[in-house]
Amino acid sequence: MKTWAVTLDLLREARSRKWFLFLGGAITLGLLVLGLSLKLEVVDGALAASRFFGKSLDNPMMSADVALGAVFSVASQFIFYGGMLFGIFSCSDFAPKLLSPGRIEHLLALPVRRWELLAGTFLGVLILALAGAAYGSVGLTLIFGVKAGVWTVRPLLSAMLAVVGFIPVYAMMLTAAVFARSAALSSGVGGVVFALGVVTSYRDTLLPMFSPGLGRFSFNALTVLMPRLARLAELSSQLAGAKPVSATVALSLIGGCLAFGAGALMVGIWRFEERDF
């Protein structure tokens, strides 16, 4: 309950920021542009052919949801990478502000445990990310639902994967801020985790470039733990585009990212508990 109070406090702070108003406005504008200007003849044609000919026709036109798969795939990539970068820059100063002199002493004087402060902050950012991803993906679904009659939850599911990808990144940002109160450092760490997450996704391709020995071992050891963000983005795209995905791989990827994020948050909490203010 106290964690939730901290979360609400963070959300109130986010509402007062222009960054998040800008994000909301940008998503709305993007959806309006899509809704008003996208040419959907292919989809309309497929739907009309289905209605007119029924199943008797060996229909050469692709089905509407397949035609839209490519659009959803591109949108999912935009949400994943765009949302990730936006999140890294816009959320980097929440934790440093929480820890700023004056405010942290005030918070610690309240009947709130230290871990609840950090967990509340993390949860607040997570809700922001969820809200942004859900707004964009549900808006997209509504547009194509109304205009083309294709109703699907796939864009929403793929947007949730983008949030899963942001969890380890923000957990590391929050932990970095606990070690050194700096928004620049926090966003820098976010950027590094993001970059490593992309590099790690291609570790099997990159590994043969290293000579056997210490170099290859170090790269192997470093990358085995990092969340595979580019592969998660690919999974998100496949899910949005109605392409087959391996449930085992998907669950391992998601579980790995969540566990990494939770582990990083635990390190942050441990440091926060140790630290004197």
Partner: protein, 355 residues
């Protein structure tokens, strides 16, 4: 204090879980690459083999004549065609009992009635699988060694003229069929020395010169020395042979290659998987170094391209390939795992299915 440490323990546990799950999400790993032997020097078995072949007597050079010493192995003596020439020796007997050799024999056997191995045995008394020891391929012709006591030379060369030559050699010449116009084809020449060494080619002079070297009547500068006889295939390639390997449209590249590399020494280990080592020698250290680096770069680029395009088999093959610089020479090492060769030769094993 103790409760605080629990956060750290929990973090470590969560990282371990994350590592396992993420590692698991990478999917099944390709099996570790097989360890392929690359031939680099004479091995004990090859030293024994080399000593057993040193059957020629040592020719004591006269005090006033300084020259190279004749190899005591008849094949190596016969192969001494001079500096710049080429010769590649196949240890036929060793190859025959290797897994690769068995694959090739199966391919030959699958040709049914036209199996040349069976035909040679039935008609001419030459059991290639038992009697043949080595085959050397040179620009001057073929040289074969082995135990050919049971060979029916008169049947094999029934239309040839026969001459005795030197101490223990017979020369056979088959005149080509007459043809109207155009360049007259060369006659087929053969020399059999002591039922151990056979020359097959188109030059009577080359046949006589080879016998002269074996019997110690001609100066002999070894093209392949005894300490280079390691592997199941070995030999040297001169510049002219390099140039023939390049397609005509790559003649400019061929000339550059030939200008840098004067000789390639080749060794192939085929006892199980196939390991290949080619040492490239040249006069200009700088040019050889640049050539070695260029090859290494091309191999790396090809490896990455194969990996990126998902061609795991080619990627694994290129993983084995590496360039080792060594002053005015460098060695290029490659490997062909047996499983890969089996897949390539699956077409002549109907039971094995398609590759």
């Amino acid at each position: 204090m103790r409760r605080r440490r629990l956060w750290l323990v929990a973090a470590l546990l969560l990282f371990a879980v994350a590592g396992f799950l993420l590692w698991h999400s990478d999917g099944p790993r390709p099996p570790p690459p097989p360890k392929v032997d690359i031939p680099r020097r004479l091995r004990p078995a090859e030293v024994t083999r080399m000593n057993q072949r040193a059957v020629l007597p040592v020719v004591q050079p006269k005090a006033e004549v300084r020259g190279p010493v004749r190899p005591r192995d008849p094949m190596l003596a016969a192969l001494a065609f001079g500096k710049g020439s080429s010769a590649v020796v196949f240890e036929a007997n060793a190859l025959r009992y290797s897994p690769v050799g068995q694959l090739l024999l199966d391919c030959l056997a699958s040709q049914g009635k036209d199996n040349p191995v069976q035909m040679l045995k039935d008609q001419y008394g030459i059991d290639v699988l038992k009697d043949l020891d080595r085959v050397a391929v040179t620009p001057h012709g073929l040289l074969l060694t082995g135990d050919f006591k049971t060979a029916k030379w008169d049947d094999l060369f029934q239309h040839a003229s026969e001459d005795r030559y030197g101490d223990d050699a017979r020369l056979y010449e088959i005149a080509p069929p007459e043809r109207d116009g155009g360049e007259a084809p060369k006659p087929f020449e053969s020399a059999v020395w002591n039922n151990q060494l056979v020359y097959l080619g188109n030059s009577s002079d080359d046949a006589r010169a080879a016998i002269d070297r074996v019997e110690g009547r001609a100066p002999t500068e070894a093209l392949i020395t005894e300490d280079q006889t390691y592997g199941e295939v070995y030999g040297v390639l001169g510049t002219q042979e390099f140039l023939k390997m390049f397609p005509p449209e790559e003649s400019e590249l061929a000339q550059k290659f030939a200008a840098a590399a004067q000789q390639v020494e080749l060794h192939v280990d085929a006892r199980n998987d196939v390991g290949i080592q080619a040492s490239i020698h040249g006069d200009s250290e700088q040019q050889v170094e640049d050539l070695g680096k260029s090859l290494a770069g091309m191999l790396s680029a090809a490896r990455l391209e194969a990996k990126a395009s998902g061609d795991d088999q080619l990627s694994q093959l290129l993983d084995f390939a590496q360039v080792q610089p060594d002053g005015s020479s460098f060695s290029l090492e490659m490997a062909l795992p047996l499983d890969y060769l089996k897949k390539q030769l699956a077409w002549c094993h109907p039971d094995a299915g398609t590759p």
